[in-house]
C-alpha cells in the first residue's frame, strides 16, 4: 500500500537534493569548524555561506544568524535569552495561539516573576492589533507573535505588528517555522528583530534551526561553552545539517506554492460540500499555503486519524487530549471552539509532492470514515 503523507506540517522528508548535498559533510568534509586546519576551515567557510544565504532569503540587512538545534531551541533562546540579558524589563507579549515552545517558555517565565500578556485571537486566529498596541508598556521588552500558526494556518500581519513594535520601541520576534520559504518574510520591511526558522519543515534535516537576530541585541546563552555562534550558542556546529538547511531553502518553488494553494482550496471546497458535519477552522484568506484544519461534529479526531492511518494516509489531529485540562488544544480554545467539540479536529498539511489524485483518495476515504464514526456516535442527532 502506497502511503499518502499529508502531515508535512509535522515534518517533511529530506528531499534527494538536500540529502545529496549533505553526504560529503558526513563522510569527507567532516571537520569541526573550530579547527584551524583545512578540514575545519573548509567546513567553516561553507557554514558562513549558509548564514549569508539565510540572510538573503530573509532580506536581513543587519542581522546575525545563530544556528540552533531547531525551532524549539530558537524560540527558547529568543525569549529566555532576551529577558535574561535585559533584566530591567519584565514584561513580554505573546498570542494565545503560539506553539507550545513559546507558550511553555512564557509560563516558565511567569513562575520566575515575569509578566506575560497573552493576546486574544479572533475566530480565524488573528490577533487584534489594537489590543497589541494597548498591551505594550514601559516594562515590555518583547512581542513574540508567530507568523503562520501550525494548526490552523493563520498568517499574522507581520508588517503591521512590526510597525507597532517599532513605534513603541519594543523588540519583535516571530516564530516562522511554518512559513519560512512558503510565505514572504522581509526582516527590513516587517521590522523583525528576531526570527525563528528551522529545516525539517522545509525538506531539510531535523535537528537544525536558526535564530536570526538584529545586530546589537544581547542574549544570555542557554548553552554555555566554547563560545560558538557569536557566544550566543555553544556546541560543535552541526555542519552537515547546516549545509542541508542551506540547500533546503531552495526546495519550495513559487509553482509549488501555487499548486499547494490550489489543492488546498479544492480540498476545502470538496470536504465542506461532501461532509455536512464538517467545519473549516482558521481563515480562508491569509492562510498558510499548505494548511487545512477541520472540525467534525460528534466524532473524535484521533479515530479519524487512526482509520486513515490504517488505510495508508498520514494526517494529524488537532486536539491534545491531555490529562492536564489546561493543555487541551489551546488553539481550538483560543478561536472559540467549545471543549466538547475540540476533540473532533484534524489537520491536513500538503507538501510539494502532494498530487490531486492523492487528495481525491484522501477525501473519498475521509467521507467514508466520518460517516462510519458518525453513525457509531451516541451524540449524533
Amino acid at each position: 500500500m502506497k502511503q499518502i503523507y499529508l502531515d508535512y506540517a509535522a515534518t517533511t522528508p529530506v528531499v534527494k537534493e538536500v540529502y545529496d548535498e549533505m553526504k560529503d559533510y558526513f563522510l569527507k568534509n567532516y571537520g569541526n569548524t573550530s579547527s584551524l586546519h583545512i578540514l575545519g576551515q573548509n567546513a567553516d567557510e561553507k557554514v558562513e555561506k549558509v548564514r549569508e544565504k539565510i540572510k538573503q532569503k530573509l532580506n536581513a540587512k543587519d542581522h546575525k544568524v545563530i544556528f540552533t538545534s531547531g525551532g524549539t531551541e530558537s524560540n527558547n533562546l529568543a525569549i529566555k535569552g532576551l529577558v535574561y540579558a535585559n533584566k530591567e524589563k519584565k514584561h513580554i507579549i505573546i498570542s494565545k495561539i503560539e506553539h507550545d515552545c513559546i507558550l511553555k517558555t512564557a509560563k516558565f517565565l511567569e513562575k520566575q516573576g515575569y509578566e506575560v500578556t497573552y493576546l486574544n485571537v479572533d475566530k480565524e486566529g488573528f490577533i487584534d492589533l489594537k489590543q497589541l498596541e494597548k498591551s505594550i508598556k514601559k516594562e515590555t521588552i518583547l512581542v513574540s507573535i508567530m507568523h503562520a500558526n501550525n494548526e490552523i494556518g493563520t498568517l499574522q500581519n507581520l508588517k503591521e505588528i512590526g510597525k507597532i513594535c517599532k513605534e513603541k520601541k519594543v523588540l519583535f520576534h516571530t516564530d516562522a517555522c511554518q512559513s519560512f520559504t512558503k510565505e514572504k518574510i522581509d526582516l527590513e520591511e516587517f521590522n523583525i528583530d528576531l526570527i525563528t526558522i528551522n529545516a525539517h519543515k522545509i525538506y531539510g534535516p531535523k535537528g537544525i534551526g536558526a535564530l536570526v537576530i538584529k545586530n546589537g541585541i544581547k542574549l544570555t546563552p542557554l548553552l554555555h561553552g566554547g563560545g560558538h555562534e557569536y557566544g550566543f550558542r555553544s556546541g560543535t556546529l552541526n555542519v552537515p545539517a547546516i549545509i542541508g538547511f542551506g540547500k533546503a531553502i531552495d526546495v519550495i518553488s513559487k509553482e509549488d506554492i501555487k499548486k499547494m494553494i490550489d489543492l488546498r482550496n479544492y480540498m476545502i471546497k470538496e470536504i465542506l460540500k461532501k461532509i455536512p458535519t464538517s467545519k473549516l477552522n482558521g481563515p480562508t484568506e491569509n492562510r498558510l499555503c499548505n494548511n487545512l484544519n477541520f472540525l467534525f461534529n460528534y466524532i473524535e479526531g484521533e479515530s479519524i486519524l487512526l482509520q486513515l492511518d490504517m488505510e495508508g494516509i498520514c494526517i494529524s489531529t488537532g486536539s491534545a487530549c491531555s490529562s492536564n485540562t489546561l493543555e487541551t488544544n489551546h488553539v481550538a480554545n483560543a478561536i472559540g471552539i467549545p471543549k466538547d467539540k475540540a476533540n473532533g479536529i484534524i489537520r491536513i498539511s500538503l507538501g510539494i509532492e502532494t498530487t490531486k489524485e492523492e487528495t481525491d483518495i484522501f477525501i473519498e476515504k475521509l467521507i467514508k470514515i466520518v460517516k462510519r464514526l458518525t453513525d457509531m456516535s451516541p451524540l449524533t442527532k
Partner: protein
C-alpha cells in the same frame, strides 16, 4: 516515548465493530463519558429470563472516542452477549483489555471504560426492577485521557 500501537484485535474491532447501534425499548441503558474528554459510551441491553436467570439477549453500543474506546465497546458486547447479568457484572475493564491483547498503557485508564458502562446499564436495569440496588466502583478514569499528542 509513549507507544500507542494498538494490537491487531483492537484494530479489527476498531475498523469493524460488532453490535454497534441502539436497541429500541432497551431494558437497561448505561451512559458514561464526556465529549470534552473525548470519550462517550452508551450501552443498551435486552434481557431475558431463563430458569430464574437473567440473560443478556442482545447488547448494542454507541461510542464516540478513540480506537481504545471503540474497540473495548465492541469487545465487551461480544464477551457478554448470552451471559447472565451476574457473570456480566464481574467483567472488568482489565478483562476487556486482555481480550483485546492489551491496550497501550496510556489508554488503559481513560478510554477503557466499557465495563463501567456495562455495569451502568445493568444498574439501570436493576433500578427499573425496583428494590434491586447494586453498587460498584468505577475503574476507568473520567478525566481527560492522557495522550502524547502535541502539535508540531
Amino acid at each position: 516515548m509513549q507507544n500507542i500501537k494498538y494490537s491487531k484485535k483492537v484494530k479489527e474491532h476498531f475498523l469493524h465493530p460488532h453490535n454497534m447501534g441502539k436497541i429500541k425499548n432497551a431494558d437497561g441503558i448505561g451512559k458514561l463519558g464526556n465529549p470534552a474528554c473525548g470519550d462517550v459510551m452508551y450501552i443498551y441491553l435486552k434481557i431475558i429470563k431463563k430458569n430464574e436467570k437473567e440473560i443478556i439477549k442482545d447488547i448494542k453500543f454507541q461510542t464516540m472516542g478513540c480506537a481504545a474506546a471503540i474497540s473495548t465497546s465492541s469487545m465487551i458486547t461480544d464477551i457478554v452477549k448470552g451471559k447472565t447479568l451476574e457473570e456480566a457484572f464481574k467483567i472488568t475493564n482489565k478483562d476487556v483489555a486482555k481480550e483485546l491483547d492489551g491496550l497501550p498503557p496510556i489508554k488503559m485508564h481513560c478510554s477503557n471504560l466499557a465495563a463501567d458502562v456495562l455495569k451502568e446499564a445493568i444498574k439501570d436495569y436493576y433500578n427499573k426492577q425496583k428494590n434491586r440496588k447494586i453498587k460498584y466502583e468505577k475503574t476507568a478514569c473520567y478525566k481527560c485521557c492522557d495522550s502524547k499528542k502535541e502539535m508540531d
